[in-house]
Symmetry: D3
């Protein structure tokens, strides 16, 4: 572990970011610098060079001992790590199920009291697109990947009720530079809004255990964050600016396609994958 | 039927507008030109001259055979036709009840899969003005006219559940050039917002069967469209600009007047009318 | 009209029963004798000989003038009349839509303040069998017949809100001597319980406008009358005694059959019928 | 009582303001001048000199006879009077419980039909900060003071149901020039928005009996006024402009402090006080 | 205070019963003997001779000091004391408002952790008879008496949230030997069921703060205790046995009488009473 | 695998029971004989000798290939297998998480369309004992064991939404010969009622994906199965007969013990266990 010590007056002493090499992890690395003296960044994949305030470390989340070490000494965790697409169950079992358990168990052992957990819209992807969900909507996973996110939501609930570890479960929509298809006009979360959502999740004094949808202020809405408005997340971006790229069409027969009928989009068409062996 | 053929790249090939000679129908005719190659416009009353892209036809909606012909070949229907004020039951029975049945039965026979149905706030007019309704609020018709709109909502639900014909039921407030009285400061739907609402109703890929209130973003709100926000209807106008025309007064005894107590306004004072014979 | 005068101390002076020649009408005729001095019974079909306390009259409910006369002088109406199976829309339009309007309009003109209206489970037949409905459940008609019952529920709501005419809408399940098929083990309403339900509907001091499911205390429940328990309807019979006639089978592929999936049973498979001409 | 007569065309002839010497009362005095010909202002404490359109009077609200006289001849009452912090029960019993009863009883005797009642967020202060409340949220008083506000809400409900006196219960957050601590970034109600809320409460034609949260459009939200949106209260200010004064900190152990966990803040730590005798 | 010491193995060492001279208090005195070694019984009115296990004491609940003494040394309190009919506000202010405060404040000071509080159906009497209430139904007091019961419910909520004193609020219907009028066929609570309800309220290990309707298993139901079913209250009696005394009548015009329309019955017609001076 | 062939007219041809050597598995083995020609029983532990209609097989559910073979040829699965107490996460990961996945994946591959899944009250054990839960209550696992049951509920939901495999999730209370402690007076499920619940779960024609509490008709109720009443589960037993074994006591300080405050009882006090290595 490449460890760095800095002294400053930032609100957090040391924050941990898992999944730092991923799409969203890379966005967040910069922002975390403003919030903590030290940012510990980890991934199973190669990470770019650490900044002076950073500690980088390569960790397989399925490795309990390594995770225990990873979490030591941090004030809060932004847990983006794990597999973020559908995958063979064996892989999900390690990275997402055992991995998330390892993170929470390490948090318990080391007294960490706040986790920001990257859940996913795929935890509720089998709700129809004609339904607007609030943050109490029942889980409807659209894939094994989605099922592992449901597991993470249940697990973190347990660690809150039993051990007082607070978690904000971010049911992230589609966070990319820009929407890539018509569905993402609805599910788009700009990078700026994503960072703001993490900021609210880290800094709100008390969050208990709460679910919040990670979505910008887009014209079409499937998700309603009213019950989580105590987080103070007020997105500033909107997919409206990209609407012209995906001109409206008459609803054709394709609208009976499950990928059109359910919020999860193409995920709802997947099938459990065989392990690559 | 004055039929026209055009070739273009607009999203719809042919749209049908019923009630095209009415107040709202006239507003919509222009807009439809942007969305469809051919716009078939019909009314029982005289219609203005067809534009090059239009087909005009005089039809009594109570005439099953004529409606069957009217619907042939269209991709979607904006059904504003029928009587839009209180009237003798016999008249409503033909124009609104049999008429709406004829439209849906023709849609079924001709394979039309999307209808935008002009319901009305008078389907819920007997809710008190001190209650804010969401789109699941139970029907409370304030007149026989309102009862026929309840019929249309139930009928279209049947055609959706049984035959997959999708409908957006627009519970239209008061859509005029400007609010005409204090009540309309609440119920006002600008023409621009009305057109936008029809646009959302036609172009949203899937709508299922849904109710939405047709109302601008007015300062006082009786209706909450949150559950229909998957339509992407975001009104841009507000009655606020007209507020000064109706200066505030102290609430007097008139506030016990049923026309003041219920959302339907003066409609709640009507009585079934005798047929004009 | 064969009119009879009797003098007694029964709670009602004169009750009107429409649809008296039908299955349920015949059951009820006897019971009404206990509740009213005079029972006016009507149907469009032939009625059996009047008892001394009865007035019998053949009336087409679609005939406004005849209905106006029929209702004169009664204290309350049990409105079972109309078509009780799916039928061509033209027929339903007369018997069920105009017919029910005529009954309410006559009630208004003659000052009748209580109606017991035979709605039907087919007003909600497109709810799945895996859902338990309370009396606020939204309408989901499973047939044009069901749509006319929705119309009757909306119409009677209007007459209550506007004119104070109280109605109990009975969403009757399957009221026969005995269940005829497995579905009826769930929807069975014994004749005795049906009569008790009408009794509660007539005698409860205030009912406002309320929906109640007409169903016995069967082992399997789709419907929950808790919100209507102010009526005091406590069924005494159960389909359990008939369960052995329909031995349990393993759920086979037939369970994807819409007639198995939805509460309305085979009704959900019907299609609008052509008028018999 | 220093009584003044003016003649004009303002909407109200005479408004009564109790608690006029308090923080909010002083803010409101000026605004009332625009709405009524005569403004009667009262307090138990010394009031500043009356303006020409004002009548000032010193009244102990616990004095029934004095209150009866105070209310005579007014069109509506803005009842801010009473004790607005925690206090010995004996004091609350007089000022807030008997005092509010006296105001309503005087309103009944003198035919006043509209009261704007200053309830408080302390009527719901024992809800956790991780819950967003709508206006139907159950009472959870955080102090004896809060209990007296619950009393006022129940009492005014009675006067509405029984005598038709309409009341808007304002559950006021923290209305000061500026937020004084981090909690007030959530509960802040600017003076301008407070005045606007009273205006809406007085001028909305019908209000029935309704609860509304008195809070500006702050970034973090604990309270949702959707169900009261028929009042047309649209706050224009926000605590966002003051956010920098209270820089975000990492959530520390203090977040288990009840004053951090519950919406009422430090009030939840109070204990019943002994009377000062 | 006539104090007695006994030694035994009953579950409670000492129970306090206030209002012991009243109708329900007299019923309960006997039962309490089975549950506690010592039963302290008090009232403002004369009490019958104490049994060997009883301590009797005359106390005005409005007398803080006397109540403080009364509560000393008890394990739990059954608080039936106070005025149980409508009365001048001054009287209610002392007996019901200050009195209930005194009881809770004494409980806090003496470490008593369980109170069974006699609230009343008159706390919700302005709900219509056509509505079935669960235990979360909002308060709708039908009288000043009812308002004081709302106060007691709010006050006890505060003492629970703040000091952990648990309370079961019994919204008692009509507890007499027998129903005295048709309304009581609905609201009847047999003495036996009343005693059982108090037993459940005292012995259930944890009750938090809960509302429960005190009503037998009558045929007509306005109240639904499902949400309080963790108390294990299963009434064994029913008003059905008394139904014949109040023969059913046709609903006449009297049904517009507020005393017929609202659950509170004749209470809803009362008016605030002048103090008897 | 000890395979047997019988020919008969029982409703199911072949049923699979996992966890057959456990407490509940042993109860069920006998009953299944009445419902299927062949009963395949499996466990990881030793099973008693097969009856003529039985096939017995020892299978580790974590072994994908073995499970695939186990499921082949069955019509429906009663899945009681896995660890039914708290255990080290590694063990739960195999037996309950991978094990349940293997069962569903095998069901999908072999076309099995009905699973009865033994979930547990420990999936909701962190709800307080003063709350009555319906079958939509959110998960609140009280242990890692409970978290794995939440996983099973989410996973089975996915297999229903995606592949149409129906599941009844039984949130079983305490199913033993007799209640063993006061908590079990509430959570008791008699063996007879357990068997009846499985019967309803297997034979109801359509179940979709549903949660139901496995509990007898005990006097104290924490769980309400109304929304699952379409299953026809009507328990016949009650813990009332055992009540005298656990005499009521005064609620003492122990009521602050989490094991007394939460429905999960002592489970809520557990901590993640280290693997036994």
């Amino acid at each position: 572990m490449n460890q760095t010590t800095t002294a400053s007056l930032k609100p957090f002493r040391r924050l941990l970011l898992t999944g730092a090499a991923g799409n969203l992890g890379r966005q967040l690395r910069g922002a975390l610098a403003n919030w903590a003296d030290v940012v510990r960044v980890s991934d199973i994949a190669k990470l770019s060079e650490p900044a002076p305030h950073e500690e980088t470390t390569i960790v397989d989340l399925a490795d309990r001992r390594a995770v225990m070490q990873l979490v030591e000494g941090v004030d809060a965790i932004v847990h983006l790590g794990g597999i973020s697409i559908d995958a063979p169950f064996e892989d999900l079992l390690g990275a997402n199920i055992a991995g998330t358990y390892n993170v929470y168990e390490a948090a318990r052992k080391h007294g960490v009291k706040r986790v920001v957990f990257a859940s996913s819209n795929h935890a509720i992807g089998f709700h129809p697109v004609t339904e607007v969900l609030d943050t109490d909507a029942p889980q409807r996973p659209d894939s094994l990947y989605g099922v592992t996110k449901c597991f993470g939501e249940a697990l973190s609930r347990y660690y809150y009720d039993r051990f007082g570890i607070e978690t904000v479960c971010l049911r992230i929509g589609s966070s990319f530079e820009e929407p890539k298809n018509p569905r993402m006009l609805v599910t788009y979360l700009s990078y700026r809004d994503f960072i703001e959502l993490v900021r609210c999740s880290l800094f709100t004094n008390r969050v208990g255990h709460v679910v919040v949808y990670g979505v910008s202020n887009n014209p079409v809405k499937w998700w309603d964050n009213t019950k989580a408005s105590f987080l103070g997340f007020n997105p500033r971006d909107s997919a409206a600016q990209f609407a012209e790229r995906f001109p409206a069409t008459a609803p054709g027969d394709s609208h009976d396609d499950p990928a059109q009928r359910f919020q999860g989009g193409p995920f709802v068409l997947g099938e459990p994958m065989e392990a690559k062996r």
